[in-house]
């Protein structure tokens, strides 16, 4: 998370050599890790060009497309009942899936980092599986499980439960697809931290819960926030698996990404871009929140240090 900052300060330091009294000497005594200026400039240019071409340009296109016909058209597209229903559904799913996977992520990371048990490598590989499987296949798996022709279909029908082509199905596939994000973020962090601080807390008389709350959680805070942000972004944006299980019932089982596709297929480009700009905006806001929180925390630590 901080690597970009570190890289930037690294560059600053290179510009102001420590032995600045004698420039000629400083030049000759260049450190082994310092590169010639042309290489530095080339690398920075390449990186910036990539960012501009593949990140900034598409983002601008989305925002431009959304507001091309003015704010009134944009508002109209958002206020459309189908769009509002898609937004509500997406928020509902996020509200269910993110806490669920936060819980799972912490539990899995805790188990893997702090305990020794048989089958640990298998668990670690299994957690990665949702990344490896195509989302469409994920959708199909759950159709086969819960669909009316599927294994549990007749039982579900008998009990009047709907999973496929309904909200529960969407929640399940999105939970599946976003399962690794938080766990993946926390496992290396917790493994690296070991369990000494927790043990210290226990010997000082703290209960298991207090130890978790006062010691474990603050130590994994940044990893956890980062994981939640990634999980949240993916939960809002998931398309493939949802497309298979939702049945795309307008105003009922269309999430925001599905609604965008519908609009696009119906040649309503401005409306499609308008709704897209919502997702993009949410992404930008989450990144901004993360930066602000991080910056605040750094400032607090610096103040305490002074």
């Amino acid at each position: 998370m901080n690597t970009s900052n570190q890289a930037a300060s690294e560059v600053d330091r290179a510009d102001t050599p420590t032995a600045s009294d004698n420039d000629a000497l400083a030049k000759r005594w260049r450190r082994a890790t310092e590169e010639p200026a042309w290489l530095k400039v080339t690398l920075i240019t390449v990186a910036l060009a990539f960012v501009a071409l593949f990140l900034v340009l598409p983002l601008s296109v989305v925002l431009f497309g959304a507001f091309e016909r003015g704010i009134a058209t944009w508002l109209e597209a958002i206020r459309d009942p189908d769009a509002l229903s898609a937004i509500r559904l997406t928020l509902l799913i996020v509200a269910i899936v993110v806490p669920l996977n936060t819980l799972f992520g912490i539990a899995a990371a805790w188990a893997i980092a702090k305990f020794e048990f048989r089958g640990k490598p298998i668990l670690i590989s299994l957690i990665d599986m949702p990344f490896a499987i195509s989302p469409v296949v994920v959708g199909l798996i759950f159709v086969i499980l819960f669909g009316s022709q599927g294994w549990l279909g007749p039982w579900l029908a008998a009990h009047d439960l709907r999973i496929i082509f309904a909200v529960p199905g969407i929640v399940i596939v999105i939970a599946f697809g976003t399962l690794p994000f938080i766990a993946r973020e926390l496992i290396p962090l917790m493994q690296q931290q070991g369990k000494e601080e927790e043990e210290a807390s226990l010997t000082l008389g703290a209960s298991g819960f207090k130890t978790f709350w006062h010691v474990t959680l603050p130590n994994i805070k940044w990893g956890l926030i980062y994981g939640i942000i990634l999980c949240n972004a993916r939960a809002m944006g998931e398309f493939g698996a949802v497309a298979v299980v939702s049945g795309r019932i307008r105003g009922e089982t269309n999430t925001v990404p599905l609604h965008i596709e519908v609009l696009y297929n119906e040649y309503m480009f401005t409306a499609a871009f308008a709704v897209s700009s919502l997702l993009t905006g949410l992404a930008l806001v989450t990144i901004a929140i993360k930066s602000v929180v991080e910056w605040q925390d750094e400032r607090r630590q610096r103040r305490a240090a002074a």
Partner: protein
Amino acid sequence: MSIEIDRVNKRFRDFVAVDDVSLTFREGELTALLGPSGSGKTTLLRIIAGLEQPDTGRIRFHGEDTTDLHVSKRGVGFVFQHYALFKHMTVFQNVAYGLTVRPRATRPTKDEIKQKVMRLLELVQLDWTAHRYPHQLSGGQRQRIALARALAVEPKVLLLDEPFGALDAKVRAELRRWLRRLHDDIHVTSVFVTHDQEEALEVSDRVVVMNKGRVEQDGSPEEVYDHPANPFVYRFLGNVNLFEARVHQGSAHIGGIALPAPEYADQRNEHGHAYVRPHEIEVFARQEHADALPAKVELVSVVGPAVRLELHTDASDALVHAELPKHRYRALGLSQGSDAWIRPLHSRVFLPDERVLNG
């Protein structure tokens, strides 16, 4: 508060960490658990703390069985090798932690906590660091904070796991003397684990030497150093020379000389090993004594005020190490390659059927 360890066993899969150990640590005593890595000393300490469960055996604090008591209820202070300070808390918050996490009913007031924490920080001479974070302190300072934090909960026993292991030599020596003085002031029953024999001998009232999960010897530092119970303890506590010896009617014959070994008065022509410490070997330039062995100086190294010699003699397979003061070495006029005579002043003989351990 005394600690009683009663026939404790602990294994990790095939590895026997603690093998049927029984020990009693007396009230107010500072004991060193000394042994090489893998000797089970840290595991034993963690079992006393409740951080590990023994497979069999009981732990009693002052006669009260605490084996099944959770670590948070045991009232032990534990100091870790790598400090284990809470990184995200200030020094003050670290030391106060044990008091602030108490349930409301038994928690002291904010003012009381503040007073107590500041008193402890003064005790470890670090009251000026209260508002700093652990990463802003040196290793020695962090370990003193860790100690203050452990003492804040007024533990019944204080357990220290290689407390100075991660520090450099000078800080280490200072800190262990400081720990000794601190212990004399507060007198809480303390056990500390170390692999450094010098540390164990200097700091503790009592030394327990462990190897392969067993207790090899248990006694005062002097006893353990001067009268090692077996070859392992001999080798582990300082350097030692090994001579092949023939044990016959109360004396050990090495090469052409005889050393007294009264404990073996009944043995006849047994083969054994004589252990002699480097500083217990006298070196001569000429054959001044009839009972000296001829040798040749192979290597001379001057280490501060002392001189270490490596000598070759027919009586020993390995090179013999001798240590003498620099002025004595100068007076002898020896140099590398010259002939010399050596005489063991004191030796301890072990027969092979006694437990011979790898060293």
